[in-house]
Structures are given as structure tokens and as C-alpha cells.
């Protein structure tokens, strides 16, 4: 069954509230008694946050409408994401990917736990973050202790680690990239690529 039909059938007459505010542009459906069937706006009573679409680099601004006030026991839920009309770039418009962001954020396929695959295993298992940080740090340290070069063959100080590579960054903010840079140069990693060449 269409989610729409259930929503629209369930909420019927309450819509008059929305309709009665009928605005200039849209020809005031409230003039007509039959406007009573109109569903209430799903973004009513939401909080609006400003964000930027995470897909391509046109840089469209989006408004994220959430329900819930972020109080201690409330995890806000995204109701809808729509183009931000104030942006001189997109002026409220979005492409087909951008217009589908609500599902992307709240996808049932999102990862919600640390997944671990042991050597030779055929399956994922769950891991707590504490265990994961402990194991990962130990692996990185072991590889670094084995591969770190303080001096090269000619005796020059090089402080580099060439048996570990890093990739990524293009999907995340400048600030995350900056932190990844400190992480990388702290460890001495030279092999690092993002999507800019792919």
C-alpha cells in the first residue's frame, strides 16, 4: 500500500488549518469548501537546519526539517530535506539525487555498529568501539614499528611510514580533512589519495 494513501486517508479534515492560511501565490484553495480534505503540511512543527548537499560539488544548500527538540531523551528525526531558496546557487532547487537525501540519511542500510571481520572469516561480527580502538591502535603501532624509517639509506632524516596507506576525505569537511592530515603526518604516512584523481 502506498504510504501516501494511508497518510492522506487517515488525516483528512484536520487539514483545514493549513488550507485556511492559503497564500497569495497559490490561489487560496480555502475559498473552496472541498479544501478540507487537504493533508497538513508534513514540515509543520519541524525545526529547520541549514546544510549542504553531500553529493557533487555544485554546493547546493538544503534545509533539513527535523522533528524533536533535541532534549535529553529525544533523538530528532528528519522528516524532509528540500532545497534552500536563499542559496544563490540552487535557489531552492535540487537534482534527483539531492531531492532524495531524506532517504539517504535515514537509510535502513546505514551502519549502526562496528563490524569486524577476522582473518579468514566468512562473516562479520560486532565489536564495541572500545575493543575496536584498542585493536586498531595495536595493529597500526605494530605496522609502524616495523616500517617506520627515521633515516633513509643515505642517513638523511625522513621520519616516514611507507607500509601504511590512507585514502579518503573528499566526502567530508575541510575540518575533518585537516584532522586527517595531522593524523597522517603525525604517523608519517606519505601514501595518501582522495578522489581528486579518480
Amino acid at each position: 500500500m502506498s504510504k501516501n494513501s494511508s497518510r492522506r486517508d487517515f488525516i483528512t479534515r484536520s487539514a483545514a488549518t493549513g488550507a485556511s492560511t492559503a497564500a497569495t501565490l497559490t490561489g487560496a484553495p480555502a475559498e473552496n469548501a472541498s479544501a478540507a480534505h487537504i493533508a497538513p503540511l508534513k514540515t509543520a512543527n519541524t525545526t529547520k537546519y541549514t546544510s549542504i548537499c553531500p553529493y557533487c560539488a555544485v554546493g547546493c544548500s538544503v534545509n533539513i526539517h527535523t522533528l524533536g527538540d533535541k532534549a535529553r531523551n529525544v533523538r530528532s528525526a528528519i522528516v524532509h530535506i528540500e532545497g534552500d531558496p536563499e542559496s544563490p546557487i540552487n535557489r531552492g532547487t535540487l537534482c534527483p539525487k539531492g531531492a532524495s537525501l531524506e532517504e539517504f540519511v535515514q537509510s535502513d542500510r546505514r551502519l549502526t555498529k562496528v563490524r569486524y571481520r577476522a582473518p579468514g572469516a566468512r562473516e562479520w561480527t560486532d565489536l564495541s568501539w572500545e575493543e575496536a580502538f584498542g585493536k586498531m591502535a595495536a595493529r597500526i603501532k605494530a605496522s609502524r614499528d616495523a616500517g617506520f624509517e627515521e633515516k633513509d639509506a643515505e642517513g638523511r632524516t625522513v621520519n616516514r611510514l611507507e607500509n601504511v596507506a590512507m585514502i579518503g576525505g573528499c566526502t567530508d569537511t575541510n575540518e575533518i580533512n585537516y584532522l586527517l592530515g595531522k593524523f597522517r603526518f603525525g604517523l608519517g604516512i606519505l601514501a595518501y589519495e582522495n578522489q581528486s584523481r579518480l
Binding site: M1, S2, K3, N4, S5, R7, R8, D9, T12, A15, G18, A19, T21, A22, A23, T24, L25, T26, G27, A28, P29, A30, E31, N32, S34, A35, H37, I38, A39, P40, L41, K42, H80, E82, G83, N90, G92, T93, L94, C95, P96, K97, G98, A99, S100, E102, E103
Partner: protein, 270 residues
Amino acid sequence: MIVAKLIDTTLCIGCKACEVACQEWNDQEYTLGTFNGSYQTMPDLAHNFWNLIRFNEVERNGAQSWVMSKYQCMHCAEAGCIAACPAPGAITQMANGTVDFVHENCIGCGYCITGCPFDVPRLSPATKKVYKCSLCSDRTAVGLEPACIKTCPTNCLTFGERDELLRSAEIRTRELKADGHAQAGIYNPAGVGGTNVIYVLNDATQPEQYGLPKDPEIPWTVRLWKGPLKALGAMVFMGSILGAFFHYVIFGPQDPEKHGHPEEEPTHEA
């Protein structure tokens, strides 16, 4: 004030943002389909898919051309679906011209489907009710544009007062003619009293290339039903006497030349 949608097909890039915006706003369930040999999302509209961009590869003056055109409820001034509907209050035309379905009153008889010269309404096999574009009546009620219009990146879609849009369609047509598109024109068919979805076409002599029927009309059977037979209308729920008649209305032969059912036009790209 009558509101309308203007679809300037010369500015459409077939990005389908309007399709997704419609689906998302209306909380539709998505369908993962099989390959149908085309860039087109699906072959036709569905009860849970109200807004389709049609893709049509054609040759014009020997040059490759790829026509993209939006297909949805036309919100006709004289709506065939309303003329055909036997259920009181199931289809309503609002003061602003929007033709909207009120599903709690819909009896799922499907007569509106026959009454529509554009072949738009679709019956849901699950709810046994009929669905189509509502012009986002919930959005327009509070002064927002319909979802498809708002998202359109190239200004191919505009929403506003019908008379004003007709004027800008005329201006646009003159521009296109000046740019060398001698056949440019407006699609606003008289057979249904004009539509509240107006198109600007590069070649208005061949609306079929855009998946639009050339001269749409409300089927004579439907006109008959809401005309001389109107008094009998109320009896329809019980009326077995009319069964045969409506069988003909629903399943009877329709001349695609005359009524121009879009689904029978060669609109898919190869």
C-alpha cells in the same frame, strides 16, 4: 485565481529531479524495476508514481534530437475524470483549478481512468483506490510551490497564476521563433477547456513527439453520461442496468488517433 504549471520543454534536461521530489514529498513507496531498454524511469505512470519524464529519440531535419517531456495530471479546466466520477466528493476541483482526489470518498470504480483523455489516473491494486498528482495541494495550501516545480533546476517548470503563465508562454514562444524554431508553440488543448498544465514546445505541430495527444477530448461516452444521463448518476452504485454501458466505457474500444492515448504513442527511446 486559477493556478497552473508551465512546462517549458525547451529547458528540460531530463534530470528527473521532479520525479524524485514528487515521490519523496508524497511519501510514495519506491519500485525497483527491471530494465526496459530506456533512460525513462518506467514505461508509464503508476498509482505510486505520478510524474514521469518521457524520453523520445527523434530526428529533426536530419539531426539527432532527444525530447524530454513531463507527464502528469493536466488539471483540466473541464476535467474528464470529474465528469466520469460517480462517487460524490471523490474528485474535487478546487477554486484555484486544482483537480484533487479525496480518497476516503473514492470507491475504486475506475471510471475516472476512462474519462481522462490523458490517461493519467491509476488504480492501486492494494487499496483499490485511484491516484494521481494532487498538484501538492498540501503545499499550495500554505503558499508553497508543488514539489516538482520547486526542485526543477533549469526553470523548465514554473508555477503561478494561469493567465500570467500563458502570457510568459507566449513570450517564450516568440523567443523560440526568433531563435529559428518556426514551429514553436503552446500546448493548451481546447478539447478539455484548456489545461492548468501548459506546455511550451519547440515543435507544437507534433505534440505526439512529447507524448501529448494532439487533440484530446473527453470521451463521448463520458459526456453522454454526465449529460442526458446525469439524473441516473446517483443510481450508479446499485445500477446493474448500467453495467453493460460502463463496461463499454471502461473496456470499450478507443480510437488512439482520435483520443490520442499517450501510452500508445511511440514515446520511448529505442
